[in-house]
C-alpha cells in the first residue's frame, strides 16, 4: 500500500451561513494571564477567523484550550492563558459556525465511514481489535514522514526497562525516524543507568537479575551525570556510550525532558518549571506532523493538549497531524479521548513489543523484503 493521507476540504465561505457571517471581534487583555470575558477558546480542529470582509484566516500552529491573539500587523497567534500580556487583543465568540466570525472546521479530513447497521458487533476499540493494518499503515507513514515530515516521540520510562526495546528505539533514531523527543527525567535516568550499569532501577535490562545493592545504580547514574554537569557533557566525555539519550544527543535531535514531582535527581537538562517545559515541548510539537506516545499517560495527555489535528505547511497546504498512542489499557486510551484528543489512533499493546516490531517492520520494508521475512 502506498502512503496516502486524506485531502483537506476548504470550507465554502461563499455560501450561507459563512457568507453572511460578521467579522470576529477582539478585546484587550486587562490583567496579565487573564482573558477578557467572552474569549474564544481553540479546539484541536482547523479554525477560521473572519478578519476582513470576505477574508477568513486559518490559525497556524494551533492547539486546544488557548485563546487567539491578533498581533499588530494582523497575525493570529494561539496563546496559552498564562502567556497573555496586558493589551493583547483576544478574539471573542463561542459560536462555531460563523455566528461570531469564527468557523471551527471539525470535518476537514473526514473519511468515508460507510453506512451503519442498526445492529452490529465490535464497534469499540479494545485490546481485541485487530492491529495488523495499523502496523502496516504506520510503516508507510513513518517512511513518508522520515523524509517529508517531522516525527515526535513521547516516551514513558518503561521503554528502557527492556533491552530489545531500548536497542530498537536507538535503531529508529539512527535510521532517521525520530525528529523530536519528549520525555521525563525517569526515561533519561533509566536509560543512563542502563548505559552505565546495564540495569534500570537495579534490575538488569536483559537477564532481569536484581543486581546486589542495585538501587544504588539508579542514584549513582544521576549523581554521576550531575557531577559532569549535563547529559551532553557525559556523552561528550565518553561516559555514556549507548542508549537513547546518547543517540539523540549525538544526532542533535531536540529533546525536552520535563520535570515532575516523581523525579529523583534530577538530571541537569530536566526543566524544573513545568510551564517552561510546556513551552519547550510546544516548540517541538509545532513542527510535528506525526506524534507517537508510548506508555505514558502524563506526557501523552500533555502533548495531546498542545497538538492540533492539522498542520499548515510552508506552501500553505493543510495536512493532518497523526497522533498515535500505544498503551496497555483501554482506560488510558479513553482518558485521552475524554480530554478532547479525539483524533488519536491507539494501539493496545506493550510498548516493548511495539517498538521491536516497528523497528523490524521498517527494516524489512527498507530492505524490500517484507514478503520473505
Amino acid at each position: 500500500m502506498a502512503f496516502w493521507f486524506p485531502g483537506y476540504t476548504v470550507p465554502d465561505f461563499s455560501s450561507p451561513p459563512l457568507r453572511d457571517a460578521p467579522l470576529v471581534r477582539f478585546a484587550p487583555v486587562e490583567r496579565a494571564g487573564v482573558a477578557p470575558d467572552g474569549y474564544h477558546a481553540t479546539s484541536i480542529f482547523p479554525e477560521y477567523f473572519h478578519v476582513e470582509p470576505g477574508r477568513w484566516e486559518l490559525l497556524r500552529e494551533s492547539r486546544m484550550d488557548c485563546v487567539v491573539v491578533q498581533r499588530p500587523g494582523g497575525a493570529l497567534d494561539v496563546v496559552e492563558f498564562r502567556r497573555l500580556q496586558v493589551g493583547d487583543r483576544v478574539a471573542l465568540g463561542r459560536g462555531e459556525n460563523g455566528e461570531d466570525g469564527i468557523y471551527v472546521h471539525a470535518e476537514a479530513f473526514v473519511e468515508d465511514e460507510g453506512r451503519g447497521d442498526k445492529f452490529a458487533f465490535r464497534t469499540r476499540l479494545t485490546r481485541e481489535t485487530s492491529f495488523s493494518i495499523d502496523y502496516d499503515e504506520f510503516y508507510d507513514l513513518l517512511r513518508y514522514e522520515r523524509d517529508h515530515g517531522f516525527i515526535v516521540w513521547v516516551l514513558g520510562p518503561a521503554l528502557v526497562f527492556d533491552r530489545d526495546a531500548r536497542d530498537a528505539f536507538c535503531a529508529l533514531i539512527h535510521r532517521g525516524y525520530v525528529h523530536g523527543l519528549l520525555a521525563g527525567n525517569a526515561l533519561a535516568v533509566h536509560d543512563v543507568e542502563a548505559a552505565l550499569f546495564g540495569t534500570a532501577l537495579g534490575q538488569e535490562i536483559y537477564s532481569k537479575r536484581l543486581a546486589p545493592l542495585g538501587h544504588y545504580h539508579h542514584l549513582d547514574a544521576i549523581n554521576r551525570v550531575r557531577a559532569l554537569g549535563s547529559l551532553k557533557a557525559a556523552v561528550a566525555a565518553g561516559v555514556i556510550t549507548d542508549g537513547i539519550m546518547h543517540a539523540a544527543l549525538r544526532r542533535g535531535i531536540p529533546v525536552v525532558l520535563a520535570g515532575s514531582i516523581r523525579d529523583d535527581g534530577p538530571l541537569p537538562e530536566v526543566v524544573a518549571d513545568v510551564y517552561a517545559a510546556q513551552d519547550r515541548m510546544r516548540a517541538v510539537v509545532r513542527r510535528a506532523t506525526t506524534i507517537v506516545a508510548l506508555a505514558t499517560q502524563l506526557h501523552a495527555i500533555a502533548t495531546g493538549n498542545m497538538a492540533p489535528s492539522y498542520r499548515v505547511l510552508e506552501d500553505g497546504t493543510v495536512r493532518p497531524v497523526f497522533f498515535y498512542t500505544v498503551d496497555m489499557s483501554e482506560f488510558a486510551v479513553q482518558k485521552l479521548a475524554n480530554r478532547g484528543s479525539l483524533t488519536a489512533r491507539s494501539l493496545l499493546t506493550n510498548v516493548q513489543d511495539f517498538v521491536v516490531t516497528v523497528e523490524r517492520g521498517l527494516r524489512r520494508r527498507e530492505a524490500g523484503t517484507e514478503k520473505t521475512l
Copy 2:
C-alpha cells in the same frame, strides 16, 4: 426522584415504507439444528413481523442471534439454532426496514440526547465517570422492580470472597430484591466454604488470614455437599446455615449454576451441559425486567447474549429490560458492547463496594432516612 422509564414508541405501520412492505416469508428446516438459507437473525431490539396484510407481530421473549420460528397456529418463537427441528418454519430476510416484512425497531425507547458540540470533553465511559446518579436511579429502579418486576442477578465468584459483600447480598435476598440467580460452580462453592469454614479458597473472608492447609477447605466443602447429594439437602440438613445459596434456596428463588471447565467438584446442582444450562438460564431471563451482572465476564456475556432490550408484559405493555454490569475494567464493559449488548449500563467499581453500598442505600430509602444518613 420518582421512578420512571422511557415510554415505548410503536412504529408507524400505516405510512411508507412499512405500509407497503411485503409479508415475511418462511422456509422449513431440513436438517435439525441448521437454519435454511437466508434466515433472519434476531437482534436485541423489538422486531415486528408482517404476518398478515396490515398485521405486524412483535416478537415476545426475544434474544439476539436466534431465528424466528412460526408455530402451527401462528405464534412466533425465538429459537436458538441448536434447537431447530426438521420442519420448523423459519423466517427469512435480512432487511431491517420492512423490505422483507421485518422491522427492527432500534429506537423504540430512545431518550433525548441533546445536541452535541463539535468539541467536547468526556464523551467516553471510564472509571472516572460520575456514578452518583446511577446509584440513585438504581435504588429507585430496584424498589420499583421488587414489587412490579423481576430482578435477575448474575454473580461472579469474587462477590463471596468478602464478608461484608456476602452479607449485603444476603440482605438483598431477604428483603426481596433478588428474583433469580445465575452463577457458576465457583460462586456456590466459595459461598458454601464460607458457611462451613469461614474461608474462601482457604482465606478467611474477613481477616484474610490464610488458614493452615486452607486449600482443603475448598475441596472439603465440595466433598461434603456431594456426600449429602445436593445443596438443597445440605441446607435442609442444617449443614449450610448462612450465605447466598442458603438464602436463595430457603426463599425458593430460581438459581441456575452453569458448569464450566474451570470447575472443581462440581456441586450436584451444577448443570454440566452448557447448552442445557443456557436453556435453564434463558428460562429465568425470559421473566427478567432488570438484570445485574457483578464481576463476571463469562456469565455477563452469556446472559447479555440471551437478554433482549425489552419485555412485553402480560397486558401487552412494552417496557425496557435494564441491564447493568459492574466491573473493574473498561475492557470488560467494551467487550460486552462489542458482542452487541449495546444497551447495558455499566458501573466501573469493585463489586464488593457496589453491593455494600446498594444494600445500605436501599435500607436508607426504605427507612425514609436518605436525607439524614
Copy 3:
C-alpha cells in the same frame, strides 16, 4: 544461549524425617464421586507416596485438587472427585513432609535466587518488566520441545481477530510447534468466519471495516459448518481452506473445543458437557511438556488446574512442565497464581504481537539469521 532446564532433585528418603515415615493409608470410596474423610488432595508439585517400607512412589500424570487412588496391582492414579467409583481406595493424610507417608516435593526444581537486599526496587512482575529474555528463552524452549516435547496451546478468541496473528499461528502449526490445541467454540467460529468471509464477528480481520450486515457472517459460518456436520467435514469438503482449524485438522493435531454458556451454535465438535471436556483436555495435558495460554482467562485457569509442574518421561526422567500465560492485565496473571498455578511464567502484552513476534523469532533462528534481522 543453548536450551537448558533445571535438574530434578530426588528427595533424600534415607534420612529423617522421611526415613522414619509411616506407610500411606488408604480408605475406600463409599459413595460414587465422594472421597472418604481425611483424603489427601494433590498439589501441582511432585508427590511421593510411601507404599512399601522404603519404597516411595512418585505420582505420574498428576494435577492439583485431585485424590490419589491405588489401583489393584498398586498403580497410583490421580483422580478427580467426580470420577471416584465405589470401592476405589483413596490415599489419606494431609501432612506434606512424610507424617502420613506422603511427601510433597515443592522445591524439586528450585533454581538459585541469589541473595536479597533489604531494600530493592522492581520485585513485582508488571507490564513494565523486561521481556526480552523471556522471548529468547521461549524460542530456545520451543525449538527443543518441537523435537523432544509436546507443546499445548490454549487459545482465547482474540487471536483470530487479527490477520497477522492468525497467519502467524498457522505458520507455527505448519512448522511443527503445535502439538495440541485447547480452545472454545468462539475461537473456532471466528476462525471459520475469517476463512469463509474474511471477517470475525462481522469485522474484516485486516481492514477492520464492518461488513454490511456483518453480524450474519458469524451465524452463517456456524450454520454452514453445522449443515456439513463437522469442522472436519467442512475442511474435507474444501469449504474451509485456511486458518487455524484448517491447519490443525489437516495435520491431525488433537484439538479440544470445550463448550461454554457464551457459545453461539455451537460448532459440531464442541464438547457440550464441561466435565467430559475437562477429561478430553486432560488427556492432551497429560502429554504436555510446555503449555502456552494466550489471552484466555477461562481456558488458562482450567488448564492450569489440570497441569502439574513436572512430567515423568518414559525413561523415568523427571522434567519441569513449562506453563506460559500471555495476557494484557496484571489481574489475569495474579488470578492464575491465586488459584495455585504458582509456576506459570507470564508475559504481559497483546497476544497479537506475541504470536507474530514469536513466529518471526523462530523463523530467524531456524534460518540462523538471528544476528542479521
Copy 4:
C-alpha cells in the same frame, strides 16, 4: 476492634555485629548537588548511624533515595541530592548491617505472619481480595489519627468528577479527618468548576449531562480565579462557596498544588517548579502519620518516594506511618511497590465508592450506630 499499631523493636546494639561496628564516616560535598563517592542512600526504613562509640542515632524525618548530612552540632539530616551544598558532610557506606556504621532496620514493625503451607491459594493481592477488614481498620485508624496523628490525603482529579464523592470528602474535611492535602492543578480546577458551574470538564457532576459549550466551563473557572488572583481570594470573595478547595482553605489546612505539564491555566496557587513543589510536599509529609492516596499514580508515587515507613514522635516514640493507596488497577499498586514503597496497603476499587463508604462508615462509628446501620 480497638485501634492498635505494632510496637517498635529497638535493635540490639549490645550484641554482635552491631556491638563491634565501626563509626560511620562522612565526606564533604565538593560540588553543589553532587554527593561524594560511596555515599549512603536512605531507604524507607528506620536507619541508625553509629556516630559515637556506643551511640547510634536514628534518622528523623527520613525518606528514601536521599543522603544523610551531618550538620554542625551533629544533627543528621536526610537531604535530597539537589539540595546538597558545598561542604555538607555526607554519610558514606552501603552496608546495611553495621559494616559501615549504619544499620537499616527493615523489620522494625514486623508482625506475625504465621506459617506458610507449601501449597496455597490466594497469596496475591487483587481486586478479588476481601477488603472488609481494611475498611474497619481504616475507620479505627482515622478516628485515632484525627485526634493523635496527622492525616495527609493525596488526591487524583477523578475524586471531584462525582458529586457524592466530592460531598463526602468535604464532610471528611469538616469533621476533622483531613490535616494536609496534596494534589495537582486538575483536582483544584475541576473542583472549582463544580463550585461555579456544577460541572467538571463540562459534564454535570451529578446528572452527567454534557453542558452546551461545556468545555468552556473548565477554562472559565481557571480564568475567573486567575482574575481574582488566587483560590484564597476567590473563596474570600464568596465566588467559590463549596467544594474541597473551599473547605480546606476555610479550615486552614495546608494544601500543596504541584504543577505538571498536563496543566491548563494554571491556578495561581499551583507551584510551577516541581522541585519546589517537592519541598512543599515534603514539609507536609514530614508531619504525616497516615497518608491516603486516591486515584493518582503521579502524586502517589511522588508522595511514596518521600514518605518513610516510620515517624519519631516528639517524646521519642517510634510509630509506623501508614500509607494507603486506592486505585482501580493492580498495575498501579505493583508499580508503587516496584518503586520501593513496600509497606503501602492497597484497596482496589473506585475512589468514588471508597470515599463515600468511608465517610458513611466514620459517621456511623461516631454515632455509635455501626451495629444498626
